[in-house]
């Protein structure tokens, strides 16, 4: 656990000092929101109706930019070999990289929630329930993205292949999260979206378990 935390914190420090990945994702996020705002506005009702979709479209696209960051730091510094020479079974490396990407995605999710609430009138009456949906959705996304980013890390076309791989697997997570968010935005009680949360939880558990078990085999050169 100590090593998982140390790896995630080191990567976060490198991400903040390097500034490239997170800042491009945030810039991209702003552009996506602006374009969707112009395309769907200016009627308040139209914007409100589209808000849950906008939230997840923006998060999915920004996430695709962030997906490779967990491994890009090793490629940029040529340090992948050093990481693979660390002792112990390599599942812990997966968990450290997952934790790093998960924290990045949660940060972007929170920022996005505030922006969508401000620009698209997303009701925040059920903010805790929406936050829980974001948490579950970000977990599934980070689980899949960390695994596939590790799988393609040595390929020169990794940045092109990664979004295709991630989106093809993460679709159920995004769909379930969108349905839950629509329900919450329409004011249905949280108890009525529990089924979607259970589905998200099941996806998260499956993706995390399968990814961490398969990871040691895919990361070997």
């Amino acid at each position: 656990m100590k090593r998982i935390l140390a790896l995630a914190l080191r990567d976060l420090r490198l991400e903040l000092r390097g500034r490239s990945g997170l800042f491009s994702a945030l810039f991209f996020l702003g552009v996506v929101l602006l374009i969707l705002g112009f395309a769907l506005g200016p009627e308040e009702d139209d914007l409100r109706r589209a808000a849950p979709g906008v939230l997840w479209v923006a998060l999915a696209f920004a996430g695709s930019l962030l997906a490779g960051r967990a491994w890009a730091v090793e490629v940029e510094n040529d340090t992948l070999d050093d990481l693979l020479l660390l002792p112990g079974s390599r599942e812990w490396i997966y968990w450290g990289k997952f934790l790093f990407l998960w924290i990045l995605l949660l940060f972007v999710s929170l920022l996005l929630l505030v922006l969508v609430a401000g620009m698209f009138y997303l009701p925040l009456a059920q903010a805790p329930a929406i936050l829980l949906t974001l948490l579950l959705g970000a977990t599934g996304y980070a689980a899949v993205a960390t695994f596939y980013a590790g799988l393609v890390v040595r390929l020169p076309t990794a940045q092109l292949i990664l979004p295709i791989l991630v989106f093809s697997v993460v679709v159920p997570v995004i769909l379930a999260a969108v349905r839950a968010t629509i329900g919450l935005a329409e004011g249905v009680p949280a108890s009525e979206v529990v089924a979607w949360w259970k589905l998200l939880l099941a996806f998260d558990a499956i993706y995390l378990t399968a990814s961490s078990l398969l990871f040691p085999f895919v990361i070997e050169g």
């Binding site: 090593r3 340090t79 070999d81 020479l85 660390l86 002792p87 050169g221």
Partner: protein, 204 residues
Amino acid sequence: MPPLLELDRVWKRFARDWVLKEVSLAVAAGEAVALLGPNGVGKTTLLRVAAGLTRPQKGEVRLFGKPAREVEAERGRLLYLANPPAFYRHLTGEENLRSWLLLLGKAADDRAVAGAMARVGLPLGRPVLAYSSGMKKRLALARVFLAEPKILLLDEPETALDEAGRELLFQAIEQVRKGGGAVLLATHDRAFAEAAADREVVLS
């Protein structure tokens, strides 16, 4: 007592080209072996195979007397220093060392790290992106002094080092050998190989 590092009839191919053909080599505890040979003969590949970073198509690699793929916990006692050595450019030298020690599961004692930095003659607080090639080599040697590995694999370790740096390199090799470890180094420099190693193996 089995050798600490042993390659038994190892074959390694990239695409259709065989780089290593039936290479056998053993390095015993307390021994330093130099690999010599022209460019492209497979010295770096042999080191990477020995480190377990790439799998041979045929043959077996044994580390600490066990097949390499069964070595997990002991992997932390093997240190491979590539050429050029790799570090996180946006971290300082001492941050790199501390982070590496933590990930190895060792205590990242600030005084020990500062001591290792002083021993290799590197200043504190400077990011690695501001390091010269020789300074990166010295930082790599600081890892040897801190981790005290049992198997040390060095790829052209003498390049980019000045005279004082070479002296540190000899000290690092000697420390591993005296501690009962094995050293395998690849080099083009025959004079360096003769000075640093107990015996030489020429790949052809």
